[in-house]
C-alpha cells in the first residue's frame, strides 16, 4: 500500500538456502505467513512455516476447462501460474459471523463480532493477484463507509510478490495491463532465478516495511547479469501469454449490446455453476444468512460469498429479476469488463485466467469479448423494449 520511494531502490540477491530467514524475520515481526502449497492436485494458499512447504518441483498445465498439476524435475519453487485459490479467501473471507443475537425476555442483545486485526504476510503473490487486491481495495475500502472485515485483514497485510517467469495457457495479464511485471501495491518483490546450478531470488523492496525486512536478510548485491536474467524472465512470461483480450472501448461496446445474439450462444453452454465467481480474485458479492437455536434463544448472522449466478441473487418477492442464465452470464461479464469501470474506475478483470481454467464448460472470457465485438446488432443503442 505504501509508495515506492522516488529514488531507485537497489536489488539484492538471496540464496534459496537462506529463504528460511525471510520466514523467521516475518514471524519475528508477528506475521502469519501465507503462501502457495501443492495440495489435492492444485496450487492453493495456506499457512506456511518454512519455505520447504512451497511447491518445489511442480508445474501446471492449464487450458479452458482444464487444470493439471504435473511434476517437473527442477528445484524451482514458482514454476507454476495461479491456481484456483487466491488471497481473496484470506482478506475477504468466504464466511464470517457478523453478529450473535440473544433474546433475554422481551429484550434482545445484539453482540457485534468486531473483526480482529490480523497480520498476514502473503508470500508468492503474482502481479495479477496484487492487481486483484488493488481492485478489492477500491471496492471495499475506496468509498464511505468501508468494509470493517476486509479492513481489519487488509491493513495489517504484508504483500510479497514473486514475478512470473512463464505464463500459462489461460493467462492474459499483459492485455489487462496488470502483469506479468510487478509494478505496484507490493512491499517486496522477488524473482526466482535458476542459473548455472545456482538457485537465487532477486529481491527489491517497494515500501519502507519491505526495505526493513530485506535489510535483515543475508543478501549480496545483485549483479548486472542477475538483473538481466530478471528482465528476461518477465519478458519470457509476457511473450508466453496464452490469451489476449482487446480492452479498447470494451465498456461502451458491452453497454450498447445487451441484446447481442452471442449472449444466447453462451447461455446455452453456461451451467450457471458460479465457479468463475468463486475463483475470481475480484468478485466481492456476499449474502447474509441467519441461523437460530430456538431453545437457547440465540441467533447468528453470517456473511458468506455469493454469486451473481445464483438464481435467487436478484430475488424481490414475486420473482427473480435475472431468472435466465443468459441474463446472469451477461451480468457477470458486463460487470467485470464493463460497468466496473464506471463504478470503481478500473476493469474488474486482472487477466489471471482462473475463470477460463475452472469453467466446467470451458467458457473463455477472452473469446466471449471477441465474439461480442463481432456482428454487433443493436449498435444504435439499447433503449426501448422490443
Amino acid at each position: 500500500m505504501q509508495q515506492r520511494p522516488a529514488a531507485a531502490t537497489r536489488q539484492s540477491t538471496i540464496e534459496r538456502k537462506d529463504l528460511h530467514r525471510l520466514f523467521e524475520v516475518l514471524r519475528a515481526r508477528g506475521y502469519t505467513v501465507m503462501g502457495p502449497v501443492a495440495r489435492d492436485g492444485a496450487i492453493v494458499w495456506d499457512e506456511l512455516s518454512t519455505p520447504d512447504e512451497l511447491p518445489a518441483g511442480w508445474t501446471d498445465e492449464q487450458e479452458a476447462g482444464r487444470y493439471r498439476l504435473v511434476r517437473s524435475d527442477g528445484p524451482a519453487l514458482f514454476d507454476w501460474t495461479v491456481g484456483p485459490a487466491s488471497p481473496k479467501a484470506s482478506l475477504h473471507p468466504a464466511a464470517v459471523t457478523l453478529l450473535n443475537a440473544r433474546r433475554e425476555g422481551p429484550a434482545l442483545r445484539l453482540l457485534e463480532c468486531v473483526p480482529q486485526p490480523t497480520r498476514l504476510a502473503f508470500f508468492g503473490l503474482r502481479a495479477c493477484e496484487l492487481a486483484a487486491i488493488a481492485v478489492q481495495d477500491r471496492v471495499l475500502l475506496g468509498g464511505t463507509p468501508t468494509d470493517p472485515v476486509y479492513r481489519a485483514r487488509r491493513e495489517g497485510a504484508l504483500l510479497i510478490a514473486v514475478q512470473c517467469g512463464r505464463a500459462g495457457r489461460t493467462c492474459f495479464c499483459a492485455s489487462m495491463g496488470t502483469g506479468p511485471e510487478v509494478r505496484s501495491g507490493h512491499d517486496l518483490v522477488l524473482t526466482e532465478l535458476l542459473e548455472d546450478g545456482r538457485h537465487l531470488f532477486v529481491a527489491e523492496a517497494a515500501s519502507e516495511r519491505g526495505g526493513e525486512i530485506l535489510a535483515e536478510l543475508p543478501a549480496t548485491d545483485t549483479t548486472a547479469a542477475e538483473s538481466g536474467a530478471v528482465q528476461a524472465a518477465v519478458a519470457r512470461a509476457t511473450a508466453g501469454m496464452g490469451r489476449t483480450l482487446e480492452t479498447e472501448g470494451l465498456p461502451a461496446l458491452l453497454a450498447r449490446n445487451p441484446e447481442h445474439p452471442h449472449w444466447d450462444v453462451t447461455a446455452a453452454r453456461c451451467l450457471a455453476c458460479g465457479n468463475c465467481t468463486s475463483v475470481c480474485p475480484t468478485c466481492f458479492c456476499v449474502t447474509t444468512e441467519d441461523f437460530t437455536d430456538l431453545a437457547a434463544g440465540l441467533s447468528r448472522r453470517v456473511r458468506r460469498w455469493d454469486s451473481c449466478f445464483s438464481v435467487d441473487f436478484t430475488y424481490i418477492h414475486g420473482g427473480n429479476v435475472r431468472s435466465s442464465s443468459r441474463s446472469r452470464y451477461r451480468q457477470w461479464l458486463t460487470h467485470k469488463l464493463g460497468s466496473w469501470h464506471e463504478q470503481f474506475g478500473s476493469s474488474g478483470c486482472v487477466g489471471c485466467g482462473r475463470c477460463i481454467t475452472w469453467c466446467p464448460a470451458g467458457i473463455d472470457i477472452t473469446e466471449e469479448a471477441r465474439a461480442l465485438r463481432q456482428d454487433q446488432r443493436g449498435k444504435e443503442g439499447s433503449r426501448g423494449n422490443a
Binding site: L98, P106, D290, D306, V321
Partner: protein, 290 residues
C-alpha cells in the same frame, strides 16, 4: 405525532462505525394499516447520536434468526426520536415484523440511500405519483411539502391502490383532501358496488392534476411497470424526463454497496439510489432482466 424531535436539514448519515451492525430499536407501537400492511413505530434502545433521515431513505430492519429487509421510512423526515415504517407483510422478514408486539426489540441499520430531491421541487408544481405500498416512501416527501407549503407550487398526490381495502393512510388521505392547498386523487384497480371512487390505473389520474409541465417535478414510486407507464403519461403531458424521479426496487443485503445484489447496470440501487432521475435509469429500464 411525536416523530419529530427538532427541525433540521442535515445530511444522510450512517451512525454506527460498522455499517453491517444493527442497533437495537424497540417497538413502541404497532398498528394494522390495511389487511396486509401495518405501521411500526420504533425508538432506539441505546443512547446515541440523533437519528436523522431524508424523505425516500430506507433502513435495514433485522428480525434475528430470520433476516433483514430494506424498508423505506414513512414518517416525517428530519431528526427524529421515533422511526415510522409502513410495511406490507409480503416476505418472511416482513411477516415476522408484523408479529412483533409493543416492547419487542429488533435490529435497525440506516438510514441508507439517496432521498427524494425535495429541494429541487421548490418553486415548482409537484406530482407525487404512488402505486400500492409505494405511497409509504412518498409520505415523508408530502409531509415535508405540507410543512413548508409556501415553498412549493401546486402539490398533487396521485395514488393508485389495488382495491379500496388496500388504500394506505386512508384517514390521512381524507385529511389531505380537506385541505385546499393539496390535490389528492385516488384510484383503485378493482372495486365492487360499494366503492364510489375512481376505478382505473393510476396513469388515468395524470390528466386530473393541475400542473405546468414545464415547471413541474414528479416523484414516482411503485412497481417498475407502473413507474414506466406513469412516466410515459407524463411525457405525453409535456413533462421532460429530467423532471421525473423514480424509486427503484432491487434485492438488497447490505445497503451500502458491498454485497453486489442490487446492481442495476452500473448503478448500485442501495447507494446510488433508490431514488434516481428518470433519464439516468431509462436506458436500463428498457433492457430485460438487467
Amino acid at each position: 405525532m411525536s416523530e419529530r424531535a427538532a427541525a433540521a436539514a442535515p445530511t444522510p448519515n450512517v451512525t454506527r462505525t460498522d455499517p453491517m451492525q444493527p442497533a437495537p430499536w424497540r417497538v413502541v407501537r404497532t398498528e394494522p394499516e390495511t389487511h396486509d400492511a401495518f405501521k411500526l413505530t420504533l425508538a432506539p434502545v441505546e443512547a446515541g447520536p440523533p437519528f436523522t433521515f431524508e424523505a425516500g431513505q430506507f433502513n435495514m430492519l433485522f428480525a434475528p434468526g430470520v433476516g433483514e429487509a430494506a424498508l423505506s421510512m414513512s414518517g416525517c423526515s428530519g431528526t427524529v426520536d421515533r422511526v415510522v415504517h409502513t410495511i406490507r407483510a409480503a416476505g418472511r422478514v416482513t411477516k415476522t415484523l408484523r408479529t412483533l408486539k409493543r416492547g419487542d426489540v429488533l435490529g435497525l441499520r440506516g438510514p441508507f440511500g439517496k432521498p427524494w430531491p425535495v429541494g429541487l421541487a421548490e418553486g415548482r408544481d409537484v406530482l407525487l405519483v404512488a402505486g400500492g405500498i409505494g405511497l409509504a416512501p412518498l409520505r415523508p416527501a408530502l409531509c415535508h411539502m405540507l410543512e413548508h407549503r409556501e415553498r412549493f407550487g401546486r402539490v398533487n398526490l396521485l395514488y393508485g391502490a389495488r382495491s379500496p381495502q388496500d388504500i394506505l393512510f386512508a384517514k390521512e388521505i381524507e385529511t389531505w383532501r380537506g385541505r385546499f392547498d393539496v390535490s389528492v386523487e385516488v384510484t383503485v384497480d378493482r372495486a365492487g358496488a360499494d366503492w364510489h371512487g375512481r376505478v382505473g390505473v393510476v396513469t388515468t389520474l395524470v390528466p386530473r392534476a393541475q400542473f405546468d409541465p414545464a415547471n413541474t417535478v414528479a416523484f414516482i414510486c411503485g412497481p417498475e411497470i407502473m413507474m414506466h407507464f406513469t412516466q410515459r403519461e407524463l411525457e405525453r403531458h409535456g413533462v421532460p424526463d429530467e423532471s421525473v424521479w423514480v424509486s427503484m426496487e432491487r434485492n438488497m443485503k447490505c445497503g451500502v454497496g458491498f454485497c453486489g445484489h442490487c446492481q442495476f447496470g452500473p448503478l448500485f440501487v442501495c447507494k446510488d439510489g433508490p431514488v434516481f432521475r428518470y433519464d439516468r435509469v431509462a436506458p436500463l429500464l428498457g433492457i430485460r432482466e438487467v
